[in-house]
């Protein structure tokens, strides 16, 4: 679906951002793209969307070179950016203007998503709050039924009920032929949604695993006391106790804590990576 091979890219000469970056993302998954500020997440998403061109290597989506921005590729991808601008038109006019470009656009689904998000349908887009606009774009993005859906910080600006509504509509929208990539810092918002984790650090992909494999190999627990005899890979202490990641030696089932995993991989990368190799 998304195939990046030996990608090279730099904004300035002699200051490469990506050198030999390769990544393959398949349909039927919701990928969480995680990384610190400046790690290169947005640049990678722009490469996938065809908004930036590779200096070397290849970036292809559904077999199309993204840099060519051919209509056949563009109608199979939708980007929900973190910052966006909507024209001064009503929702209905927005649909009338944009929907014809997407052959599988489902108008009924669009209005049902809006209803789910409690968005008034007869309002001008510019009269809406940032959160409401974001919900309109997310609803439109899901209704386009494109094969690739990219979201950059989709839960930024959403209130607490909206975040759970967002998870609900996303879970309902994912199908075997779609690939969704969500770049976020708010990992707790999407813990239950993401089924594959891609961590980018220092402009490299340092971790790429599905959640099932992670929970098979790692165990996430909250302990009252740290015990040196336990195979602890990473611990984070708080008032509630010690959140730990351990080797899952007994094949116990535990719920993934993505924030903990992310911090663990960034601070104690080698032993965790060795477990997955």
């Amino acid at each position: 679906m998304i195939n990046i091979q030996s990608l090279k890219f730099s904004y300035r000469p002699n200051r490469p951002l990506f050198e030999d970056l390769s990544l393959r993302l398949e349909a039927g998954h919701i990928y969480g793209l995680l990384g610190k500020n400046g790690a290169g997440k947005s640049t990678l998403l722009k490469q996938i969307a065809g908004l930036l061109f590779p200096d070397g290597g290849a970036c292809e989506v559904t077999g199309y070179k993204t840099a060519k921005r051919q209509p056949a590729f563009l109608r199979e991808i939708f980007l929900v950016p973190e910052e966006f601008n909507l024209p001064k038109i009503s929702i209905r006019t927005y649909v009338k203007a944009n929907a014809p470009f997407y052959p599988r656009f489902d108008e009924q689904a669009f209005y049902s998503y809006l209803k789910e998000f409690a968005i008034p349908q007869d309002q001008q887009l510019t009269n809406m709050s940032y959160g409401q606009k974001k919900k309109v774009i997310i609803s439109f993005a899901l209704a386009t039924n494109t094969k690739v859906l990219i979201m950059d910080e989709p839960t930024n600006g959403l209130d607490i009920p909206s975040k759970s509504q967002f998870r609900k509509v996303m879970a309902a929208a994912v199908t075997d032929d779609k690939c969704m990539v969500i770049s976020t810092h708010q990992v707790r918002d999407l813990d239950n949604l993401i089924d594959s984790i891609v961590i980018i650090d220092d402009h490299k992909i340092i971790f790429h695993q599905d959640v099932g494999t992670v929970t098979d190999k790692l165990s996430f627990k909250l302990l009252g006391q740290l015990d040196d005899r336990l195979p602890i890979l990473y611990a984070d202490s708080s008032l509630r106790g010690h959140s730990v990641i351990m080797k899952n030696e007994n094949m116990e089932q535990s719920k993934i804590d993505m924030e903990l995993l992310f911090n663990a991989i960034l601070s104690n990368r080698q032993p965790i990576q060795e477990l997955f190799n």
């Binding site: 209509p71 563009l74 024209p87 006019t93 203007a97 944009n98 470009f101 997407y102």
Partner: protein
Amino acid sequence: MQSNNVLDFRRLGYYFQYHILASWKSYLLGALSIFGLLMVVPAFMLLTRNCPRELSEVVGFYYFGLFFGGLLFTSMAFSELASKEKGAQFLMLPASHFEKFITIFLITTVGFLLVYHIAAYAALLFLNKVSLISNEAALQLDWRFLTKEDGHIYIYYAYLFCHALFLLGAIYFARLAFIKTLVATLVCLTGLYLLNTLFVWILFAGNMQTAFQNAPFILVGVHDGMYKSSVYVISEKMINSYIFIAQYLLAPVLWTVAYFRLKDKEI
């Protein structure tokens, strides 16, 4: 059936509809401004009792409006590219670069010229009324717009060249495209003039009082002896080549460069 990835008329229609739905309010406002500004001229003349008797006395306003209005409008044609958010939305909309380019091209050429000339004709009718009131005679239509003999048609060729230049500028420069295109054009023309002057000076230095006795690429004035001076002009064939290039090649070449610049645009 797989649709064409460069030009599909149905998709072009969708893009045209998309563009108009998103921009019709600003276009309407622009059209009303043109009407208003062109009506100000005869209204001012009526108020000051200073009405012209001949069209040639006021035709300058028409050409000024055509160039200033048309080129300002053209330089704002790709204003989406000035903002990352709008630019990403523009580039990711599933229409080809050619369809996006041709839509803007048609709106800034055919669309603008149509609106401007309807407004100018309305202003002319108003001016005629003003003339009937002030001079008790109709305005004499002594200016022919499309004649080759007096060179008036070349003003439209110049307009098309400037349009192509400002369209390229609109894509090339993210912000303040009008000013930047104007400055860049002046810098390029001055550079060309100085380069030509340098070569002229190298070739004719011994016979020139100053290096600036030349019209770039057309003629050069030299002194033959104390009291005699001559002008070397390029051949008629060369002049005809220049005219051909100016009429038929310059604008299309710049339009093509603008299209490829749009294709290469990154956000």
